[in-house]
Symmetry: D2
Subunit: 143 residues, 4 copies
C-alpha cells in the first residue's frame, strides 16, 4: 500500500500541542509512522538539553498514529493512550534533529501495542518507547 | 524543613520547555513537588483533550525535581531521566487545572525513583506516573 | 464492605504459578489486595538476592486481583494484564517477607489501572509497580 | 566474536529462580541473549494461560544478561534491574515454547538499557519489554 504523501493532508493531522511544540509528520504508512522535531531553545530542559517531555510527546503521537492508520484516510481513527513507557539513553543537544519511528506490534481490534525508536540524523538511538493504546472514533467524525 | 516560597526563585527553576508549555511550580519541598498547568488550546491532542505529552512533561519535571531538592538551594542538582512510565486514566478537557504531585520513593546517592499523581481541582486522579532518575551536576554550576 | 476472610476461599484463588512460587493471599478487599512471599533459595537471582521476576509476579497478581474484586464472590472476574511497569529500589535478601499491597486507581468498566507497593516487614519500600489490565470472564465460569 | 556454546557453562549461569521456573539459556552472544521456557501447568495463571510473571522473569533475566556479556567469560558481570516494563499482546496457551530475545540498546559504562521480544515457535510476538539496568560485580567474584 502506498504512503500518504500529500503534505497538506499530513499536516492537517496535527493537533494544537503537536503544532505548538513543532512536530513534523514525515511518513505515515502501514509499516511505520515517522515524526520529527529539530531541537530549539523552547525545547530545552534545565540542563540545556532536550526536555524528556518532548521525547514523550513525539513517541506518544507517533505510536498512537501508527495503530490507527488505514489505507482509506476516511477510516483513520483517533488513538487514546493507556500506558506509555520511555527509556532515555542519551542527552540530546540543541540543533539535533530527532526522529520518532513508530510501529504497531500487536493487539486486537480495539487495543493495540506499539513501540518507537527515537533516532538522530546519524541513526544513533537516543531513546526507546513502548505503549498501549485504544482505538477511538473516526477522525472524519470531527468534520 | 520549610518550603521554598519565594516565587521568583521558584520561577527561575523552569527551563525553556517548561515555560513554553506553561508549567507553574506551586510547591517545592522535601515531602513533595507540585507543578500545575491549565489546559489551553495549545495543549490539546487531535481529539480535543489534553495531549498525553503534556502529562508526561509535567510528571517528568515534577519527579526529577522531587529527587534533587535540598534544604540549601545552593545544593539543588539537575536530574537526568532514565525511565518514565505513565498510565492515563481519563480524558482531560480544556479548562481543567492539572496538578502533578511528585514524591521521591527510593534509591541511593546517585539514582532515585519517584512517583507522581496527576490530579484535577477536585483531586480526581487523571493519570499516574513513576520514573527512575539520576542526580546530575549542581544547578549553581550553571551560573 | 467486609473482607473475604475464609482462608480456603482465598487459597482457592491461586493459580499454578502463584502456588509454584509460594505466593500467599493475605487480604482481598475493595480497598486493597495484599499478597506475600517469604524469600527462599528458589527465589534468588544470580547475585543471591530476590529475583526481579518474583517481584513482577507478586505485583502482577495483586494488581490484577485488586481490579476484579466484587462484594459478591460469584462476580469475581479474571484479569488480563496489558502493561506492567516495575521500579526496583533495593536488593532483597533471603529470609525477607515481601508484601505486595495493590490498589485500583482508575479506569472504566473494562480497562482498569492499578498501582502496587512492595514492602518488607518494617514497611520499607522495596519496589513500586503500576499496570493496565482488562477485566475478563467470571471466575465462576471455570467450574 | 563467537558465541558461548559450552552447555555446562551456560547452564551454570542460571540462578535458583531461573532454574525453579524452568528457564533455558539458548544463546548468549554480544548481539543477543535468548532464553526459552515451555509452558507447563506450574506456569499458568488463573485463566489457564501463561502467568504474566513468567514473561516478566524471562524478559528481566534475558535483558540483564544481554548488557553484562563480555568476550571473556571472566569479565561477565551481574546485572541489577532498576526498571522493567512489559506489554502483553496475546494469551499464551500451555505447551507453547516462548523465547525471550534480548538486546542491549544503549547506556554508558554503569547503566544500560535493553529491549526484549517474547516470541513463540512461529515467531509470533507475544509480548515486548524494555528495561534499565545497572552493571554490578563480576560473576567470577562469587567463587
Amino acid at each position: 500500500m502506498s504512503a500518504v504523501t500529500d503534505a497538506s493532508i499530513l499536516q492537517g493531522l496535527f493537533s494544537g500541542f503537536a503544532l505548538h511544540i513543532g512536530l513534523h509528520l514525515r511518513e505515515y504508512r502501514q509499516a511505520q509512522t515517522v515524526i520529527a522535531v529539530t531541537v530549539e531553545p523552547q525545547h530545552l530542559n534545565q540542563a540545556g538539553n532536550l526536555h524528556g517531555g518532548v521525547i514523550a510527546s513525539l513517541a506518544d503521537t507517533a505510536m498512537g498514529m501508527s495503530g490507527t492508520w488505514h489505507a482509506d484516510p476516511g477510516q483513520w481513527r483517533l488513538a487514546l493512550t493507556l500506558s506509555l513507557n520511555i527509556n532515555y539513553m542519551a542527552a540530546i543537544a540543541p540543533g539535533t534533529e530527532v526522529r520518532a519511528v513508530a510501529r504497531t506490534r500487536g493487539g486486537g481490534s480495539k487495543i493495540f501495542m506499539a513501540s518507537c525508536d527515537l533516532l538522530d540524523a546519524q541513526d544513533r538511538l537516543l531513546a526507546s518507547a513502548e505503549g498501549v493504546f485504544k482505538r477511538g472514533r473516526l477522525r472524519a467524525q470531527d468534520h
